[in-house]
Symmetry: C2
Subunit: 251 residues, 2 copies
DNA sequence: CGTATAGGTTGACGTCGCGTCAAGGTCAAC
DNA sequence: GTTGACCTTGACGCGACGTCAACCTATACG
């Protein structure tokens, strides 16, 4: 009924070295030890091993696993604590990825920055100088880090959403509806939500402030490069007016 | 002109132990060593140290830094290689975070799974049983992991995009345009792209297969819960027909 | 019975970038 | 001479094992 160390290792996809390691830590003692020193494991030990490997697969350390399995700690609580560590690590990684990307670009082209990489989206931070002038260098850097921290798929998705928003604005403007109509206000609401996903805004809670939101509309009208995203000057004026109404009513 | 090891350490914000470590690795030998064994550093050494710390801050290992600083490796190339490692690590972390979240939920509520958390989006994997039955439990688990790996902002964004797509389908269906019209086919293309962002599809390259895409349309019609996303039975039929035309032409 | 082969055992080093003692020498000031 | 700040080398610890090394045991086969 009992299995040798190799049998167990193969059964669960690990190595005998690992099992010996767990034995020495007191994490998984063999159910029986032969007079020759051989380790043998029964079904209970196998169950315990499975649990160990599951928790280890989630990234928990062996001491933490020991606590949980010995009922000295609550599994859910331990996992939540662990989850927080994982999230922190993930954010640290994202920042590092952003820094590395930035450094590569600087090494290669000298200031060939975000703008060129995302010409078809992200319009309010599209041009480094403008953004820095209006909202400060830190806001630009934050946005740049955010953008670089995203995966390719996420960027594609974001750009698609941005393009869609621009197209819908353009279509609405061409239909000649009023800026305070329900349809236009729904677009303004989407615009607001779209902005809310972008860090680096001059606001603490991740959502654009009223001033910023209104100012953005003015910028769209004032700058043809931005206006182009909304079907030209006329479209940009429509967007500006709709955003203004939205801001007055809801912000 | 030369500085003692403590002076240097304080100057750049590190410790004397670290400087001794770098010395022993041959990464940063002191510019001068007194007869008493004391280490002294000149300005060149300081510059080199700054570079070391910069690269270390980006996550590079000391051997890699050694190569770069000794001109045995190209900085940009080394960083790109490093960047790839970072991205892999980040994805691994995302998966782990998803798994941990899932485990916590299972421990706490027993099967309060994704479905409840995202009632307003993600329709084709909205119901665990249906999905498992049609595409296998693994596909469901993959989708669930993907969903849990996203940040709150990403989820919001995804749901908004999903809702928008549904609304646009509904509007198109109500206008009574033909399923093979340009407008409908543009919607079908968006639908296809929207699906492409979702892992766990029965396809290797991350894009839905033709069969899956067409089958999805049938499912929308067959199941009122799905049809509701597209303006009811009529709308779902319109979607199904448009997807079919798209699949025949493009997949 | 000898032997080839496939197991098993303990012990110890290496990983990565230092932090942290430990034990002791050096220097400037009082 | 003493104090206190600073310097040196050497060695352990961290985390979860991988990877030898050296040696013992079980089983099958001729």
């Amino acid at each position: 009924m009992d299995r040798s160390i190799q049998d167990v290792a193969r059964l669960v996809g690990t190595t005998s070295r690992t099992l010996r390691h767990y034995d020495r830590l007191g994490l998984l003692p063999p159910s029986r030890v032969g007079s020759n020193g051989y380790r043998y494991y029964d079904d209970d030990a196998l169950v315990r091993l499975q649990r160990i490997l599951l928790l280890r697969g989630l990234g928990l350390g062996l001491p933490a696993i020991t606590e949980v399995l010995n009922r000295e700690a609550e599994p859910a609580r331990a996992l939540r604590k662990h989850l927080e560590l994982l999230r922190q690590e993930q954010e640290r990684l994202a920042r590092q990825i952003a820094s590395v990307s930035l450094t590569i670009d600087q090494l290669e082209g000298g200031e060939q920055l975000m703008a060129e990489n995302m010409f078809d989206g992200f319009d309010h931070t599209r041009y480094k100088d403008e953004v820095e002038e209006r909202w400060g260098a830190e806001a630009y850097a934050t946005g740049d880090r955010w953008w670089r921290g995203m995966s390719e798929a996420e960027r594609t998705q974001y750009k698609a959403r941005t393009a869609q928003l621009g197209a819908d604005w353009t279509a609405a403007a061409e239909q000649g509806i009023a800026p305070d109509s329900d349809a236009a206000q729904e677009l303004a609401r989407r615009h607001f939500e779209w902005l809310s996903g972008v860090p680096g805004l001059p606001s603490s809670d991740g959502r654009p402030s009223k001033e910023y939101f209104v100012g953005l509309g003015d910028m769209y009208v004032a700058d043809d490069r931005f206006a182009a995203n909304y079907g030209g000057r006329k479209g940009a004026e429509f967007v500006r007016d709709a955003l203004k109404v939205f801001a007055d009513r809801r912000l």
